[in-house]
């Protein structure tokens, strides 16, 4: 039987990969934001698992920072999406490719 740390980390990994797949295949920019959230959450899970393994508070502290960052990110991200939607009348991220090199 695998130990709890390994199991938790594998779960975090699977969730992260799922978020990543979503990120790669979606074109809707809101979905991409959600994918980012999935991945952030998975990362937070990994921290929690690590904290429990070592019995130290730092992992949880990190999770709190991730939480704060996610909140800020979502608020700014949504505002940006709003602007984008107003200007392009679409949520297709590929349409917003005019800043190419």
């Amino acid at each position: 039987m695998i130990n709890p740390t390994t199991a938790g980390l594998i779960l975090a990994g699977i969730l992260f990969i799922l978020g990543l797949i979503s990120m790669l295949i979606r074109r809707n920019i809101i979905f991409m934001l959600v994918s980012v959230e999935i991945m952030l959450n998975a990362a937070g899970l990994a921290f929690i698992v690590a904290a429990s393994k070592w019995g130290q508070p730092e992992g949880q502290v990190m999770f709190m920072f991730i939480l704060a960052m996610a909140a800020a990110e979502v608020s700014v991200g949504l505002a940006l999406i709003l602007q984008l939607y107003h200007q392009l009348k679409t949520l297709d991220s590929d349409e917003a490719s005019r800043m190419r090199g």
Binding site: I48, L67, S75, I81, M99
Partner: protein
């Protein structure tokens, strides 16, 4: 590691799969909330009850609800779902999936490497977390506060309905 973990983990994975396969954004977001809740359970099982609570309150509660309201505000109807359906053809899946599964394989391989003694789950009290947050990490906390502040200001500034601004670079490239 009990059955509770496996159930919660299974729910989390399944609901996340649902998130990434839905065409309707509302459904996806609701599935994501389920996923977050099950992850909160996993947090609890790993001896972080306070974090589990925060996960539910802030993530599932505040952030997700914010997104849901946002989506509702834009009133993205069936047209978006149709777009989504047309974009997400099976062909799109193949490449990223293979790549990501390779990545997962590598991650799992690394995780399975023997590293240190396998310890039991240990509970870390919220008190300890609080002490270290406002002890050694006080600076980080300040920074996080400033980040949130910046987020608020930025969101306000960007979200304002003002007259259409076309960036000067975009404008020139258009002409």
């Amino acid at each position: 590691m009990g059955t509770a973990f496996y159930i919660a983990a299974a729910v989390a994975i399944l609901s996340t799969i649902m998130v990434i396969t839905r065409y309707n954004i509302m459904h996806a977001l609701l599935y994501f909330i389920v996923s977050l809740l099950s992850v909160a359970v996993v947090f609890y099982l790993y001896g972080a009850p306070f974090m589990a609570a925060l996960e539910v309150i802030i993530y599932a509660g505040a952030i997700m609800v914010l997104i849901i309201f946002f989506v509702m505000m834009l009133s993205l109807g069936s047209q978006t779902a149709g777009d989504e359906r047309s974009w997400m053809t099976p062909g799109v899946w193949i490449g990223p999936s293979i790549l990501c599964i390779v990545l997962l394989g590598e991650l799992v391989f690394l995780i399975l490497q023997p590293a240190g003694p396998a310890g039991e789950v240990r509970v870390v009290e919220p008190k300890e977390v609080g002490l270290s947050l406002f002890g050694p990490y006080i600076l980080a906390v300040e920074l996080a506060g400033m980040l949130l502040m910046a987020g608020i200001v930025g969101a306000y500034h960007l979200g304002r309905q003002k007259k259409k601004i076309v960036h000067r670079f975009l404008e020139t490239s258009e002409s």
